[in-house]
């Protein structure tokens, strides 16, 4: 398994964030990790990329310890929850090309990567010369994402990537994840935004009380146990359940938002 988590334990000041968690993350799929505010999603992200070391158990990425000295950092990249945490260059171009430059790409290839990454996140080439610190929060978020993907990692970890993104930014994010998935990338998206399952994702993991369940297929997550009132069920699915209980007939088991919209409209006509 490409990412294997074995009996992982980690906590702060004695309070466990994850306790005896074992799971595996399959290659080439988009994983959504759901969990409420404060449940430890960011801690998990930092553990996966080796910025924190497990206190118990271990994590292996393609068989290697991500916190180890000789780990190939190019293989796994994290876009932080608060983009300003990771910005330090003076221009957007330098910021995005920092990774490719440090992994030794030729200058032509670096430029290409930079433009490609910027295009992926939906920013125009005018941004290349701008100071990342003078951008709006949402723009910085897009630049942070571009920096992470510019390295072309095999595994992309996104910590709460939707916070602060506008409608078009959200759509670009979904498109870029699908585009990278088609190229074989594995994505792990940690978010409390369960609505995202209406737009993207193959597998769902759920965090609560120091445990992580899953991964399981999206449809199984939505329509399997613990059922419609589970804590991670998105609002639009809850709506379908409420409609059914007041007598509307919903056809099929839709989970993508466009299919849900069609089913809702069909049920009232």
């Amino acid at each position: 398994m490409p990412i294997a988590v074995e009996h992982l334990g980690f906590g702060y000041d004695g309070a466990a964030v994850v306790e005896d968690v074992s799971l595996s993350i399959g290659q080439g799929l988009v994983h959504l990790v759901f969990g409420p505010t404060g449940c430890g999603k960011t801690t998990l992200a930092l553990l996966l990329v080796g910025l924190l070391r497990p206190q118990k158990g271990r994590i292996l990425v393609d068989g290697a310890d991500p916190a180890g000295k000789h780990f190939n950092r190019q293989s796994i990249q994290l876009a932080f929850q608060f983009p300003e945490v990771q910005m330090f260059e003076l221009t957007v171009e330098k910021e995005i090309s920092y990774g490719p430059r440090n992994f030794g790409l030729a200058s032509g290839a670096i430029r290409e990567r930079c433009q490609w990454a910027l295009d992926c996140v939906g920013l125009s080439a005018d941004f290349l010369g701008r100071d990342p610190h003078n951008l709006s929060f949402g723009e910085r978020r897009k630049v942070a994402l571009a920096s992470a993907i510019a390295v072309r990692p095999a595994y992309l970890i996104l910590d709460e990537p939707l916070a602060g993104l506008d409608w078009t930014g959200r759509r670009s994010l979904v498109a870029v994840i699908e585009r990278l998935k088609a190229e074989g990338m594995t994505a792990v998206i940690l978010t409390h935004e369960t609505d995202l399952v209406g737009e993207v994702g193959d597998m769902v993991l759920a965090m609560a009380e120091a445990k992580i369940s899953g991964p399981r297929p999206v449809k199984d997550f939505i329509y399997g146990d613990p059922g419609p009132d589970g804590p991670h069920v998105p609002e639009f699915i809850r709506l379908l359940r409420l409609m059914e209980s007041s007598g509307f007939r919903i056809t099929g088991r839709p989970h993508r938002i466009e299919d849900v919209a069609r089913a809702v409209v069909a049920s009232i006509s």
Binding site: P36, T37, G38, S136, W167, R171, F236, S246, A261
Partner: protein, 284 residues
């Protein structure tokens, strides 16, 4: 009244980020401000509380001019801004001290400060965080604390700059309900900056900024149709609301106003439609 009259703003040597914006929010009224990243929303928020001065036009708070240095402190007291990034705002050691910071600095006596802190902790259901360190909270918890802190100062106008962006679905509905409760109690005016139509459904009017200018202004009920016509890529419940409004003209008016758009409020509107297809219950 919190008023902007033909306000424009540019950062030094930068392009204009707010262009000729006029708006007004009275006490007791609620204005949603939507817009894309870089659209000028945060700059507008900073102009409203006097943190930035317009390069043209006027900002007036109950008749006080923001460009008047003698009025600035009074304006800051009247207009409470919740910053977009909670870390820009949190300065105290514990949650309890953080929420008490504003009231203490207003010169209130200790008993009143304590009462305000207790009230804020209780309305926002964060009593369990009382003695926790602000800097060790999760992002969503920090955000809730910043909103609670501003309400503890009992400002006449509250400006929320994307104050639900770090919260999960349930927490977001709870925060909006707490804000709603405090507004009803204090009669304060609200400016709610957000990218989520679901959250700003609690407002009466809406304004959408594009490139610093007002692209839409009006009753929030007109917004789903306008966004659809303009080709905004909506998702989640906003998309469902917009589609339903397309096939059932006037559907938005059946959806309970004054609170966040939720599965429950949308389901209630659909049940109302089934029971009463012609009429359309007026919402409160």
């Amino acid at each position: 009244m919190l008023e902007l009259r033909n306000v424009s703003f540019a950062y030094p040597e930068g392009p204009q980020v707010v262009r000729n914006v006029s708006l007004s929010v009275g006490r007791g009224s609620r204005l949603a401000v939507l817009g894309e990243n870089g659209g000028g929303k945060t700059t507008l928020a900073h102009l409203m509380c006097g943190l930035l001065k317009p390069v043209a036009g006027n900002v007036l708070v109950d008749g006080l001019k923001a460009e008047d240095p003698d009025a600035v402190l009074d304006i800051r007291r009247r207009v409470g801004l919740v910053f977009q990034d909670p870390d820009d705002q949190l300065i105290e050691t514990t949650v309890e001290r953080e929420i008490g910071f504003g009231p203490r600095n207003l010169g209130l006596d200790p008993a009143e400060v304590a009462a305000r802190v207790d009230r804020a902790l209780s309305v926002f259901a964060i009593q369990h965080l009382r003695r926790r360190s602000c800097h060790l909270l999760s992002a969503g918890e920090k955000q809730t604390v910043t909103v609670a802190s501003v309400f503890a100062m009992q400002p006449d106008y509250v400006v929320l700059d994307e104050s639900t962006s770090l919260l999960d679905g349930r927490a977001r509905l709870r925060l909006v309900a707490s804000v709603e409760r405090l507004l009803a109690e204090t009669g304060a005016g609200l400016v709610f900056i957000s990218m989520r139509l679901e959250d700003v459904w609690m407002c009466d009017r809406a304004l959408l900024l594009k490139g610093g200018s007002i692209a839409f202004e009006g009753d929030k009920a007109a917004l789903p149709g306008w966004l659809r016509d303009q080709g905004f890529p909506l998702t989640g419940l906003s998309l469902l609301l917009s589609r339903l409004d397309e096939v059932v003209p006037g559907f938005v008016h059946r959806v309970a106003s004054g609170r966040a758009l939720s599965a429950a409020s949308l389901a209630a509107a659909l049940a109302d439609l089934a029971d009463n297809p012609k009429g359309g219950a007026a919402c409160p």
